[in-house]
């Protein structure tokens, strides 16, 4: 009987652990209408490619350009975006791709960091991410990245805001159902930076996450906030194996 009682307690404990990843894992593209799918797939129509082209130019601009250290991005940056966010030993902290670009700007190039969501920051991030298109997400959540991962995992299932919802309620338990006419995706971060039709511009994953906070009527964390970074890492782990699609197109 004691064992049964313990089992009941264990069942409750298990329910409090990280939710299982959706099966089968499906990228956000799966939940788009055929028009936006086609827009994303066509390099001559996908608006995100404008930012990629700008990023390619920035890569070689200035007195100490990115290219001076990294050479040809197609070679040096191949697969890099699929491994972010990651623990950066030199910086002693977990950074996302944009954060790594900022660190190069301020540390190596002696330039001010780009402002969050500035066209230049998005352009460089989109250009670098483009070099990993089609490659599977593969982040490390061990070692020094572990506490950040756990923070993201815990926040992912914490009810927040006036509407009192956690990420997991929609993106684990109800993906595929519709809000008005829009299907709920699994919330995988493969498209970012992405061109979002609602914004009429390219935006980062952090901007998209802030929109979710706004949607549930919760206080939005600032860009670069530890909560957003932690969620990014958790989402990248959760989407492990899915192919990067940046620059994606989203509603």
């Amino acid at each position: 009987m004691r064992a049964l009682a313990a089992l009941a307690l264990c069942a409750c404990a298990a329910a409090a652990a990280a939710p299982p990843r959706p099966e089968p894992p499906l990228p956000g593209t799966h939940f788009l209408g055929s028009d936006l799918k086609a827009l994303q797939a066509d390099d001559f129509a996908n608006p995100g490619l404008l930012w990629v082209a700008r990023g390619e130019a920035l890569w070689s601009e200035g007195a100490k350009p990115c290219a001076a250290c990294h050479g040809e991005a197609a070679r040096s940056m191949r697969g890099a975006a699929a491994r972010y966010p990651r623990f950066d030993a030199g910086l002693g902290r977990v950074v996302n791709l944009e954060g790594r670009i900022d660190a190069c700007r301020t540390g190596r190039q002696g330039l001010p960091a780009f402002a969050p969501e500035s066209p230049e920051r998005l352009a460089l991030a989109a250009f670098v991410a483009r070099q990993s298109r089609g490659m599977p997400l593969a982040v490390s959540v061990d070692g020094p990245a572990r506490p950040v991962f756990e923070r993201g995992r815990d926040l992912y299932r914490t009810r927040i805001g006036q509407l009192n919802l956690a990420c997991t309620h929609c993106h684990d338990e109800r993906w595929g159902k519709t809000l008005l006419a829009e299907p709920i995706s699994q919330g995988h971060p493969t498209a970012w930076p992405a061109y979002r039709v609602e914004w009429q511009t390219l935006g980062s994953l952090q901007r998209r996450l802030r929109a979710c906070f706004f949607g549930v009527r919760a206080a939005m964390p600032d860009y670069g906030d530890g909560d957003l970074l932690a969620l990014e890492l958790y989402l990248a782990w959760r989407g492990e194996g899915l192919a990067l699609e940046s620059p994606g197109v989203r509603r």
């Binding site: 009941a8 069942a11 927040i160 006036q162 919802l165 109800r174 008005l180 206080a219």
Partner: protein, 138 residues
């Protein structure tokens, strides 16, 4: 099974029961404000700045609706206005795992945006209006 074992069994059952959302003995609530107006309630039901219930719930005569929650056609036949009100005010009193927001509760929430802090999603009168509307769905 000895007395000690029976004690553990009861404890285990209690844990299971707590985890599995027992239905409350009472699931009705009296009016929060003056009589509701069904026409205003329908507006609350569909408006984004209202309850925006239509985001998740279909209802007769509503063209585009989500399907996260159950369709509400016939809800006025299945539940009394007092039962509908009980659920609209705070559905977690019926199902703690529900994703439907508690539309007239301000406690027990975290990280609420400043412009919404201390305010329920729907005012008392809006709750009455939406209850009046839902009661017409027979």
């Amino acid at each position: 099974m000895n007395a000690d074992e029976r004690g553990w069994a009861v404890a285990g059952l209690c844990v299971v029961a707590l985890g599995c959302a027992p239905l409350p003995a009472r699931d009705e609530q009296g009016p929060l404000a003056g009589a509701g107006d069904a026409a205003r309630g329908r507006a609350v039901f569909v408006a984004r700045e209202g309850g925006h219930c239509v985001l998740c719930h279909a209802a007769p005569g509503v063209a585009v609706a989500g399907d996260v929650g159950p369709a509400l056609g016939g809800i006025g036949s299945r539940l009394t206005p007092a039962q509908i009100r009980f659920r609209v005010v705070d559905i977690t009193r019926v199902n703690p795992d529900a994703v439907m927001p508690a539309f007239h509760r301000t406690e027990g929430l975290s990280r609420v945006a400043a412009q919404h802090a201390g305010r329920p999603v729907l005012s008392a009168q809006q709750v009455e209006d939406v209850v009046a509307y839902l009661a017409t769905l027979r």
